[in-house]
Symmetry: C2
Subunit: 273 residues, 2 copies
């Protein structure tokens, strides 16, 4: 009996989700929608945001510190809801914490896209993610026949954070970045940054049905569901709780968090030492 109670306590522990800032809230939102029984602790490292232009070593240090904090909050699994950290810090986090399920936002997308034959894949992301070449390497490992074109599109992050979706600015930036010849014949487009789901419809319109634009947050939430089920860690409660922590409370985080998560949220500030 006691054993059963303790087991339930473990199951009902929260999931730890982290990102360099607000983008990961698109993933948190998909997790809330798809796994309504799961609690989570979200950590947005706004003090060091954006990660996109930082060095590998710096991003690994930050990711290690945040993961340590989330495990201290008793998280049963970790979701790296940041493409840059997924590309640069995933392996080192798995090596440091072999008994905790850790998932990143790259693998679920790679598994979905890489299995398709004759696929011509386009990838857009921050500079650090593109430079890491993670998506290309993982896709090629799964399916060496894929044709892959990539581009760093850092301005799209700001376009979303400024709420310039569905304006001349977003249209101009999407056209400038995606109008490149290398993307002319892609059949699948990967949005390799957690900010970009907010531009998904516009990017779909840009391709006029010629390319599938992948919904990464949904794929990640689906993958998390599978991993938890497989590990026997799915929550048994229907009273999910959510915490939203930032390393620096900025006016912009508060302003746009709602846009990313889809509802008002209460922010706590915690500085990690």
């Amino acid at each position: 009996m006691l054993h059963g109670i303790f087991y339930c306590i473990i199951l009902n522990k929260p999931i730890g989700i982290f990102d360099s800032g607000v983008g990961g809230l698109t993933v948190a939102s998909a997790i809330k929608r798809m796994l309504p029984n799961e609690s989570f602790v979200y950590f947005g490292d706004t003090r060091h945001s954006p990660y996109g232009d930082k060095s590998e070593e710096t991003i690994r240090q930050y990711s290690q510190r945040i993961t340590k904090f989330l495990l201290e909050q008793d998280c049963k699994a970790i979701v790296i809801a940041c493409n840059t950290a997924s590309a640069l810090a995933y392996q080192v986090l798995c090596d440091s914490h072999p008994h905790i399920p850790i998932i990143n936002v790259v693998d679920p997308v790679v598994n979905h896209v890489g299995s398709k034959i004759n696929n011509k894949v386009g990838i857009i992301a921050t500079r650090a993610t593109i430079k890491s070449d993670m998506y290309r390497k993982k896709l090629k490992r799964l399916n060496p026949k894929l044709h892959i074109a990539t581009a760093a599109t850092p301005l799209l992050v700001g376009v979303v954070e400024e709420g310039f979706m569905n304006t001349k600015v977003s249209a101009g930036a999407i056209e400038a970045y995606l109008g490149s010849k290398k993307f002319a014949d892609v059949t699948t487009m990967i949005l390799g940054c957690t900010h970009f789901p907010l531009l998904q419809r516009e990017i779909e319109r840009f391709f006029e049905g010629r390319a599938e634009v992948v919904d990464s947050p949904e794929l990640v939430a689906h993958y998390l569901k599978m991993v938890l089920q497989k590990a026997g860690l799915s929550s048994t409660t229907s009273e999910a709780k959510y915490r939203f922590i930032v390393s620096e409370k900025t006016p912009s985080f508060a302003r746009i968090a709602k846009m990313f998560f889809g509802e008002d949220i209460k922010l706590e500030e915690i500085v990690l030492r």
Copy 2:
């Protein structure tokens, strides 16, 4: 005689210039043009860039550390070539270093603009600079009759860093930000971010001659010249030397430094502890 030599050595010491990243190179470039005999050490805090969304305390800490470093490099004067740090850290730096001439990028512009009667002034800058309200406060102190309208325009930073000047993207962003009713009747426009001089011509075109768009780097260089002359610190050599240091060598810094400075530069990486 010896005394004279020592005096010359002091005069020919470099000027320390710092910014959160690359933007301050527009100021460094104006200093090089206007004070060709002055050497300088430029420090771009790319590891912590951008400052625009960071807290006052954080920006003050970074500015103190960089100033300490520049004085260790034997700088005879400090130029805060960053609007956010000028707004938030200038006073604390002056208090800590009363014997070193320290100039910021706000005062020269305020002195130029504030003296004009019946002026309607528009100010665009990062969120932190606008939130500090520094330009408005200083302008009002100089001339309480001024009409002042402000807006945070953070996307313009990314537009410049991505090289999207003179495109639909820059045009769309300028229109979205400056097309606001509050800027409709401004007679002077202050570009309160060291990135924005690269958009000066486009912003001038947007206003179709209705507003003077202030050339901040030129005003700052001119002000520095005056301060050095007044303090008897003008260089006597014609062999100016330039050092460019960043706290993190990023591909984007190297790529766009040339754009900001107007010529190729060699970057050193130094991490401040």
